[in-house]
């Protein structure tokens, strides 16, 4: 297991955003984390990356307990992430942005520049290497974030709603990029709203609702699960779906 969350709970005062959620991510797979708004996906995500500390429970990376480890330490271990709202270094160029990622693995500026250049070309941002980040549009920024994270040579890349705000054409290009990243051996965890993306990319899916896991399984299983449909669309829709097609053996939480 590459990444593991064991009974992670995160409470903010009286409000429990994530309630004893558990996850296991196998090396080389693409895991989708979905659920309706407010389900706790981002909170759980941030517990995995170290931006939030769980109230209880443990997070493990390659078997190591990283629950209390700072984000920069996790990056060093090979856990990289992107942000829902792109947090690019606005006053630096595309190349310089990616160099920050490259600097994790080398301390020499010349080497960081060369490696960053290679990543930028792979990702398709080559011609824009010397453009300041603030002049990129949203798809460019998202791609830049991915390039930056890749430059850290991660073992796992966690994408937080990478498709938000993209047009269908841009989404298609992004999916292609993610497939390429996956093919190079990087494990992926994607938090997504856009269902088609999850269906086309993820090998397994975990569904959260109101902080708790309500279903897990393959994308096909999960989207037919009436519990999941009810969470997204309400009881009547779930009932209709139930009558329309009985669910194949749905995965139930352990």
């Amino acid at each position: 297991m590459l990444i593991e969350a064991r009974h992670v709970t995160k409470a903010f005062g009286g409000f429990t955003a994530v309630d004893r959620a558990s996850l296991a991510v196998e090396p080389g797979e693409i895991l989708g984390l979905i659920g309706p708004n407010g389900a706790g996906k981002s909170t759980l995500f941030n517990c995995l990356t170290g931006d939030l500390r769980p109230t209880s429970g443990r997070v493990l990376f390659e078997g190591r307990d990283v629950t209390r480890l700072a984000p920069e330490e996790r990056a060093r271990l090979g856990l990289a992430r992107t942000f829902q709202v792109p947090q690019t270094f606005e006053h630096m160029t595309v190349l310089e942005n990616v160099m920050i990622g490259a600097f994790l693995r080398t301390s020499r500026t010349s080497e960081a520049s060369v490696r960053a250049r290679a990543v930028i070309d792979t990702v398709g941002l080559g011609p824009l290497a010397h453009t300041p980040a603030h002049s990129l549009g949203t798809p460019g920024r998202k791609r830049l974030e991915i390039a930056r994270a890749l430059a850290t040579r991660p073992k796992a890349l966690l994408l937080d709603e990478a498709m938000a705000g993209l047009t269908p054409a841009e989404i298609a290009r992004a999916i292609a990029l993610i497939r390429d990243i996956h093919a190079s051996g990087i494990t992926l965890v994607i938090v997504e709203h856009v269902m088609e993306v999850v269906l086309s990319l993820a090998s397994r899916v975990v569904v959260l609702h109101q902080g708790r896991e309500i279903a897990r399984g393959t994308p096909a299983e999960v989207t037919r699960d009436p519990v999941v449909i009810e969470a997204y669309l309400g009881k009547r829709a779930a009932g209709a779906a139930n009558r329309a097609a009985p669910p194949a053996s749905p995965g139930r939480p352990p």
Binding site: T49, D51, A70, P71, E72, E73, A75, R76, A80, R81, F83, Q87, T88, F89, E90, H91, M92, E96, M99, I100, G101, F103, L104, S107, R108, T109, A112, V123, G124, L125, P127, L128, H130, T131, L136, G137, P139, G140, R143, E145, R148, A149, A151, T152, R173
Partner: protein
């Protein structure tokens, strides 16, 4: 080509200044500009590059000045020999301020710098062996060359120029190294920088400690030139304010910003002092306050940043494919 020529001309001008403008007043002015530029450049490392706004940097200046003159007063050494002591205490104070606050939001850091600067000033003003409210003096008559006690400002000019060049050179080297890149990233978006492996609190602390050490060197040089320090002239808030203004006005986070700021403000202050005299003391501060507010409100990047932006607009942009990936 043009750039190299302009730099060469500037270098010659700076080297020749005190020989061309050779009245004692002009030479002293030049030395003062350089001294303040050292302090402001030191501040720039933590305030401009790392983005952590210290408004209590006077405490480090004072460490250097008091370290030097205490070494003379109590150990009979040449004041400059007290420099290592001043630097060591500065680093200690920087650690006391920085370790707890640099992992919190920037406000805590800034508040802590004011509080500690005031704290140290009060302690020193009440400590007899540091001269109390009277302060400390240096050697009244130079004993050896090492006392660095000159009657003319000319040697100080070149001494300060050498130190300033070293500080700017060091800053230039940092700018191009991993630390420099990390600091810029941390300043732009700390959260993202940390997600990429930059240990933000640690790098901010390094920048702060370096800045403190260099500022204390400026303080020691001040003590050597003026031969006197007291709680107001060594640790007063005016020093902190001037360092910040010069760096911010000239261009915080830019290599030559502090120098530009010093070149503008030091002669201006001398001018206003001679025009307004003693009554002007309050007005000078009022003007400082207004300038700082104006910088904050209209041009936080400083004058140099505006100049650079205008130059970039004047130059046609290189052809770049317009299509988004």
């Amino acid at each position: 080509m043009m750039r190299a020529l302009a730099s060469a001309v500037a270098a010659v001008a700076i080297l020749a200044y005190p020989l061309v403008f050779s009245t004692p007043f002009q030479q002293r002015l030049g030395a003062l500009v350089l001294l303040y530029a050292i302090g402001a450049s030191a501040w720039n490392i933590v305030g401009g590059y790392a983005g952590q706004v210290s408004i209590g940097h006077a405490v480090f200046f004072g460490c250097g000045a008091y370290g030097a003159l205490a070494a003379y007063q109590h150990l009979g050494l040449a004041p400059i020999a007290g420099l290592p002591m001043g630097v060591a205490v500065s680093i200690l104070i920087a650690a006391v301020i920085g370790v707890p606050t640099l992992r919190l939001s920037g406000h805590y850091f800034s508040m802590a710098t004011i509080a500690v600067a005031e704290l140290v000033r009060l302690v020193v003003a009440n400590t007899e062996w540091l001269g109390g409210a009277q302060g400390l003096s240096g050697p009244p008559v130079p004993r050896t060359l090492l006392d660095l006690s000159f009657t003319s400002a000319l040697p100080y000019y070149y001494l300060f120029l050498a130190v300033l060049s070293a500080v700017i050179g060091l800053t230039w080297w940092i700018e191009r190294s991993r630390i420099g890149y990390y600091l810029r990233a941390i300043r732009d978006c700390e959260r993202a920088a940390r997600s990429l492996g930059a240990a933000a609190p640690r790098y901010k602390l390094y920048a702060f400690i370096l800045s403190a050490a260099l500022t204390s060197i400026a303080g020691a040089l001040y003590a050597v030139m003026f031969g006197f320090v007291d709680p107001e002239s060594g640790l007063g808030i005016l020093i902190s304010v001037k360092m910040v203004i010069m760096a911010a006005l000239g261009g915080a986070g830019l290599l030559l910003g502090p120098l530009v700021g010093a070149v503008i403000l030091v002669p201006l202050e001398e001018l206003s002092n001679s025009l307004l005299g003693g009554a002007g003391a309050g007005l000078t501060f009022v003007a400082y306050g207004a300038i700082v507010m104006a910088i904050a409100r209209f041009q936080p990047g400083g004058i140099l940043q505006r100049v650079l932006r205008l130059r970039r607009k004047a130059r046609p942009a290189p052809a770049v494919p317009v299509a988004q990936p």
